[in-house]
């Protein structure tokens, strides 16, 4: 287990981490999710020992490692921009940590081959990083980090520099890899979809604080704060309260708690239909419905309808 307790970190006048405490269970894949400047990368680097906290304690597997250099923490770290050793072949990159540990040559060779097999780079041993695509470089970086059998794998926006398609493939692959290898993993991301897709726990961070920690579904369904609600998905404001657009129900006639609205625009997005509305206070909101429901209501621009929230909303 990784435990951070009462962590503070300043950069000059900027208070990057404000009394952050979190526990990351063994074998979990936890995402630190938040906008840029929320402190998520700083927290990851503090756990790695790449930054020293001003206050607070970091413990890995019950040992206080707060004053320990990154070399001694038993971590694997993967950077957004790969941090490949450019002058070394793929083989030498992956073998780096093992050579430092002075393992026997035969053991290193077989371990490197095995890891490259796992990350899908078998046969690339002799290449240089410049001869690999971004996705391949990042998989090499993962193999390099895994080679030393770290107690903790720390990933700092690992897919941030890749294009959308590769990013999606790679995060599915990472999830499968984690199910095979089971190493305790912390992933930093600003992409809520990525966090929901990959992680079994998410810690949402904002302005140097952790807002909420929990399973992706719990955070989505029961967000503790307005920030968590709006960061994890689209929202609409109905009667001064935040709701999900797909929790809005449209009807022709008045119903309990329903608010009269005017349809401004109907947007067909394949299976879904987004209905853009304007309420009595002239505020805009969108409802998301299925094609069937939209057809049943025969929704069109200019129409007057009623809207209500199907589920209890978070107080705004």
């Amino acid at each position: 287990m990784i435990a951070a307790h009462g962590i503070h970190k300043h950069y000059g006048d900027f208070h990057a981490l404000r009394d952050v405490s979190i526990e990351i269970p063994d074998g979990s894949l936890t995402a630190l999710l938040g906008p840029s400047g929320s402190g998520k990368s700083t927290l990851l680097r503090v756990i790695a020992g790449l930054e020293a906290p001003d206050e607070g304690v970091i413990a890995i597997a019950g040992n206080d490692v707060t004053r320990l250099a990154p070399q001694g923490r038993g971590i694997g770290f993967v950077f957004q921009h790969y941090a490949a050793f450019k002058h070394m072949t793929v083989r030498d990159n992956v073998a780096f940590g093992l050579k430092i540990r002075k393992r026997p040559k035969a053991e290193i060779a077989s371990r490197v081959d095995e890891l490259l097999e796992i990350v899908g780079l078998a046969g690339y041993q002799g290449r240089y990083p410049s001869q690999l695509s971004g996705g391949q470089r990042q998989r090499m970086a993962l193999a390099r980090a895994l080679a030393v059998e770290p107690r903790v794998l720390l990933l700092d926006e690992p897919f941030g520099a890749l294009d959308a398609k590769v990013r999606e493939d790679l995060r599915k692959w990472l999830r499968r890899l984690h199910d095979e290898v089971h190493v305790t993993t912390v992933l930093v991301t600003h992409d809520q979809e990525e966090a929901m897709d990959v992680a079994d726990r998410i810690a949402v961070m904002n302005a140097g604080r952790i807002e909420q920690v929990g399973a992706p579904r719990d955070l989505y369904d029961a967000p503790a704060t307005e920030f968590v609600m709006s960061f994890l998905g689209p929202t609409a404001t109905l009667g001064g309260r935040l709701v999900r657009p797909h929790d809005l129900v449209l009807s022709r006639g008045p119903a309990e708690d329903a608010v009269p609205v005017t349809v401004e625009r109907v947007v067909h997005l394949g299976f879904e239909v987004r209905v853009e509305l304007r309420d009595g206070d002239d505020a805009q909101l969108s409802a998301q419905t299925t094609r069937a429901e939209a057809a049943a209501l025969d929704v069109e621009a200019g129409q007057s309808l009623f809207v209500r929230a199907e589920r209890p909303a978070v107080a705004a």
Binding site: P70, Q71, A83, F85, S130, V148
Partner: protein, 292 residues
Amino acid sequence: MPRPATDAVGGAGGPGPSLPPSAPVARRRSRRAVGGVGPLGLGVATLWLSLIVLLPLAAVLVSSLEGGLAGFWDAVSSPPAQRALKLTLTVSAVVTVINAVMGTLIAWVLVRDEFRGKAIVNALIDLPFALPTIVASIVLLALIGANSPIGLDLVATHWAIGIALLFVTLPFVVRSVQPVMLELDRDAEQAAASLGASNATIFRRIVLPALAPALISGAGLAFARAVGEYGSVVLVSGNTPRNQVASQYIADRIETDQPAAAAAMSVTLLLITFAVLLVLRVVAHRRTSREG
């Protein structure tokens, strides 16, 4: 001139895979591609290079061979010539090694450390570049001459030559390594640390290989400069036959009306520096091309 056509093609996308050989028309047209140089520009560049560089070199080569190959060999292998050449190359090599180490250290401090007066130190590095070399010689004479304020009279010793060469070649390694150091991938160093590498290992295995091409080219330039240096050495070396660098030997032969011997030594220096620069370039190119 077989190169311009292919160069113009490669110009847009770098040295990528070559085009299929079945496109001669497209090739001729692509010479006008954006950023390409027309035949006129190429002609002017070639002519200028010939006039300014190749023609004088050819002239000195011709005069060095006035007495035939045997005369050339006699001039170069005479004991004074051998002594001057050996002294020059030995001191230059030692100076280059020292400045490679110290230059890298200074660049490291300038890039990685923050301290007061850093801008001044940074500007000071270029002083040997800007200072007329004879002024450097006078400065050194004041420091290590007969009236040395530190009681260190080194004039007419190998040490004096070494110190003069250390002074004038200092900026080469610093200035070639510094920009590369600024661009170093700090993440790679941190990745190495997370994999258990000590600071010494990180420097040796991660930083040094990245600096190597710049370090090698800076050292090559410093060596070439040291081998040919005259002005800064002239006052402190004493100019005795025992303590004469190659450039002084050349000046001496001219003054004593032995132009062929002077030319022969000049051609020898030329060949040595050219060979050194060529080898260093090949080594540096091999390293960089691999890293892309």
